[in-house]
């Protein structure tokens, strides 16, 4: 697996694959990532908010059974290994996007795997918001909706961005497993050409591509999180 360059013919052959497929794979990785992250946040963000606001003593307490159900569902989805979850969810893909194979088919299972993570990330970020600030808003007559949109989310923004970065890196990681059911992208190249067909040079270059992507997103996320955090401004 580490003897990558000994046979010039194989190397040329593998470089050919990389040359013809790499660009498209990156594109597929990025657009499925964008869709998956978007849908994961569409479900996970409100859920994370409800986990904080809905608890006893929160700004809008919900009935205990609802909270219990939410927590159980999230924990359940979080504890099923992604590979298994993906296989279980494939029939769902058929219903939602009309197919069980290909990049599109991997999006519903990815969203289902990622939204509970997002919900917990958001929950964690919102819990960091100073309870005193929430109380101050309450004392000014803010409604629960106003507290969420004008206090909790903006105050937690740097932390939410950090959480988003972690989510993106995790989804990129899941992408390799999605290659198994024909999901496109760098992960698929790594598994199909590299692992299944012993073209390890392809595998390594695909993996390096993923590593570089994660690095880029992580740096971007950290930079953004720091930049928008007004608590980090130096005193004048």
């Amino acid at each position: 697996m580490f003897d990558l360059f000994s046979d010039p013919v194989k190397v040329a052959n593998q470089m050919q694959i990389i040359y013809s497929e790499y660009g498209f794979a990156i594109w597929e990785t990025l657009y499925s990532l964008a869709l998956e992250a978007a849908f994961a946040y569409l479900i996970g963000l409100p859920l994370g908010v409800l986990l904080v606001t809905g608890e006893k003593g929160g700004v809008k307490p919900l009935p205990k059974p609802i909270m219990t159900v939410m927590n159980v569902v999230i924990n359940l989805l979080r504890s099923v290994p992604f590979l298994i979850l993906m296989i279980i969810c494939l029939p769902l893909s058929k219903v939602i996007v009309g197919t069980k194979v290909g990049t599109i088919a991997t999006i519903p299972p990815m969203v289902i795997a990622a939204f509970p993570l997002v919900a917990r990330m958001v929950e964690g970020s919102l819990r960091e918001v100073d309870q005193g600030v929430v109380e101050a808003a309450q004392s000014m007559g803010a409604s629960p909706w106003q507290i969420v949109t004008k206090v909790m989310l903006p105050e937690a923004l740097p932390s939410l961005i950090s959480g988003c970065t972690i989510t993106v890196a995790t989804i990129l990681g899941y992408g390799a497993m999605a290659g198994i059911i024909g999901g496109g992208g760098l992960g698929q190249i790594a598994i199909n050409y590299g692992y299944y067909n012993f073209k390890f040079l392809v595998m390594w270059i695909a993996v390096i591509g993923l590593v570089v992507l994660v690095q880029i997103f992580q740096s971007l996320g950290t930079w953004l999180s720091v930049k928008c955090d007004k608590r980090l401004r130096n005193r004048k």
Partner: protein, 333 residues
């Protein structure tokens, strides 16, 4: 006149079973419009719970919270939110939105009411002037000192044109000088804008400086309530006396003979009574311990002094001490 805020028979218990703590027990207080009303007590006396009951940040288990005679507890949520805009609050930890500038913090309550942005900004700038920080509009809370943060918090509290301002240990995190300036600001605001101020504190000096009336809270019960001067100069309750003349512990083995406790309750102005005893009676007393404070030239506190062994001379000293206004002397050992 109808009180602006009236608390009627408030009770609040935290926890359950063996860990149950009665934070408030049948507390009734009336606050008149325009006054600065102080609530003092040691930590754990329930004063924070009490002030938080006034805007229902804490819901009492029993009793009524009346604002202009209207019961807050019976209000629908929507109406309660409107009323809360008329009862502003400032906090010990300031509680500013850290991701917003000072100006946007002051705009916040206006934003909640749906005031247009431009109008809100103009109003916020006026308020910055009032609290003396016109140049801090663009500063974030992290760039401000504690006193400046509290000024911004006060400006924010004033934005909704409140009738009542609740202060929850608003100066406890500040140094004495800053405390002074914040208290002066509160006094000015109360006077000029006819705002009723209800402040809780554990510091007597805060009450003495700006309050008209004071309630002493002790273990969840109102021990005493009245004009500040009356309560502090002549406390009727045990809690009041403890507050005004704190117990001074007798130093161990310092003195074998008899000891007197002299309590100053504010009327003994600047008479050097120990020296008087020495000169008039020719008896030298040594001071074994003291905790006294000078407020507006009046002495408050407790002093422990040695007494002569001879019973007659001892009585003579006690009688002499007791003849001073505002001084009470008794033998404790």
């Amino acid at each position: 006149m109808e009180p602006i805020v009236e608390l009627r028979g408030l009770s609040k218990t935290f926890g359950s079973g063996a860990e149950q703590v009665a934070a408030l027990q049948d507390v009734s207080v009336q606050v008149e419009a325009g006054e600065i009303f102080g609530i003092i007590g040691l930590s754990g006396a329930g004063k924070s719970t009490l002030v938080r009951c006034i805007n229902l940040l804490e819901r009492p288990d029993a009793g009524k919270v009346l604002f202009h005679g209207e019961d807050l507890m019976a209000m629908p949520t929507r109406r309660l939110r409107q009323v809360r805009r008329k009862i502003s609050m400032i906090f010990q930890s300031f509680n500013l939105l850290e991701q917003r500038t000072a100006l946007d913090n002051i705009c916040f309550p206006l934003e909640l009411e749906g005031v247009p942005r431009a109008k809100a900004k103009t109003r916020a700038r006026e308020l910055l002037e009032i609290v003396g920080l016109p140049d801090k509009a663009g500063a974030y809370p992290v760039q401000l000192s504690g006193g400046q943060k509290q000024r911004i918090a006060i400006a924010r509290a004033l934005a909704s044109n409140p009738e009542v301002l609740l202060c929850d240990e608003a100066t406890s995190a500040l140094d004495p000088q800053t405390t002074n300036s914040i208290l002066n600001l509160l006094q000015t605001i109360s006077r000029e804008r006819k705002i009723t101020v209800i402040l809780i504190t554990h510091q007597m000096s805060v009450i003495e400086q700006i309050c008209n009336r004071v309630a002493i809270l002790d273990s969840g019960v109102v021990a005493e309530i009245g004009e500040v001067e009356r309560v502090f100069s002549n406390p009727q309750s045990a809690a009041g006396r403890r507050l005004v003349s704190p117990e001074v512990p007798l130093p161990l083995s310092a003195w074998e003979g008899p000891v007197a406790r002299i309590a100053f309750n504010g009327n003994a102005s600047e008479e050097p009574i120990i020296a008087e005893v020495a000169m008039e009676k020719g008896i030298k007393l040594s001071i074994l311990g003291a905790d006294t404070r000078n407020v507006d030239g009046k002495a408050f506190g407790t002093m422990l002094v040695s007494l002569p062994e001879d019973p007659a001379r001892r009585q003579d000293v006690l009688d002499y001490l007791n003849h001073f206004d505002g001084v009470t002397a008794e033998v404790i050992q």
